[in-house]
Amino acid sequence: MTECTECGADVALHDDLEAGEIIDCATCGTELEVVDTNPPVLERAPELDEDWGE
């Protein structure tokens, strides 16, 4: 469990957390990027860029 950087609500984290993945804050809906896993550190995720995709 850690805090949402935007609204301060608790964010539940799953066991296989990976740096670089995105999780949604269940309270405010902000997309949060996992920047570290031990201990977990979250930051607001970058906005969608035009060249993102597959």
């Binding site: 296989d16 990976e18 740096a19 670089g20 993945e21 995105i22 990027e33 996992v34 860029d49 035009e50 060249d51 993102w52 995709g53 597959e54």
Partner: protein
Amino acid sequence: MKLGMLYSRIRKDEKLLLSELRERGHDVEKIDVRKHQFGLDDSTVDFEDLDLVLDRCLATSRSRYTTQFVDHYGTPVVNTPDTADVCADKVKTSLALERAGVPTPTTTVAYTVESAMDAIEDFGYPCVIKPVVGSWGRLMAKVESESAAEAILEHKATLGHYEHKVFYVQEFVDKPGRDLRVLAVDGDPIAGMVRSSDHWLTNAAKGAKTAELEITDEIESLVQQASDAVGGGLLGVDLMETKDGDYTIHEVNHTVEFKALNEAATSTDVPGTVVDWLEAKAEAANTDTDCDADTAEVST
């Protein structure tokens, strides 16, 4: 093997691969390209230490440049920068497919609003305008009237990045409410899915419903040809069915997402098959390196 994974975001697709790679005991180095620099001689990443690099960059620009650098440093990278360069650009993809004789929608490129309007009028309505770089069905326009065409072109010319002034106009393929996605490694299909939607866009990213696709000999052959045309690798080949009962290939994706396919194609271990291919690629690269070393030893 020691595998480097280029990324800037870990999607479910990357998590599936990481899980499979680690379960098999491979040493995986995650390389967040946002945190590194790439020089003409070396990089802040020790690429020499890696057997193989897998490009999973979310941003097309980062994918294209970073694979160029990794290749330049002499470390094997999949997909290759040449494949990335072709697949990342719809104009280059269309030309590569056409050159190889692979059926692909009729396409015209124009550089001014006036000449693009002429191209649209030649196609008739509806037709399609696509960005030359883009994914997930974003900024795609089905043009159904002259007034809509004028508005779209004006917006692209006024508001867009210079690439939006490369007007990529394509025939509208009246597909039967679905398109087909085949995941392939060097042209060998791993699995396929049907993507269905009431919307004219049938991307999984747009919420299309998915189901497993039975890959026929005809589809397999087309996928092989399309893969060869763009340089091979781990690819997502998109096909549409035409009114005549033929297929046309409209897109080949080089950093292909497969989470939806993995859920649709329940009879196939998609990440497992991709990792089988990565292992073979690393082994082949190591064999090549050993042969080069032996040759050098004999020469001296």
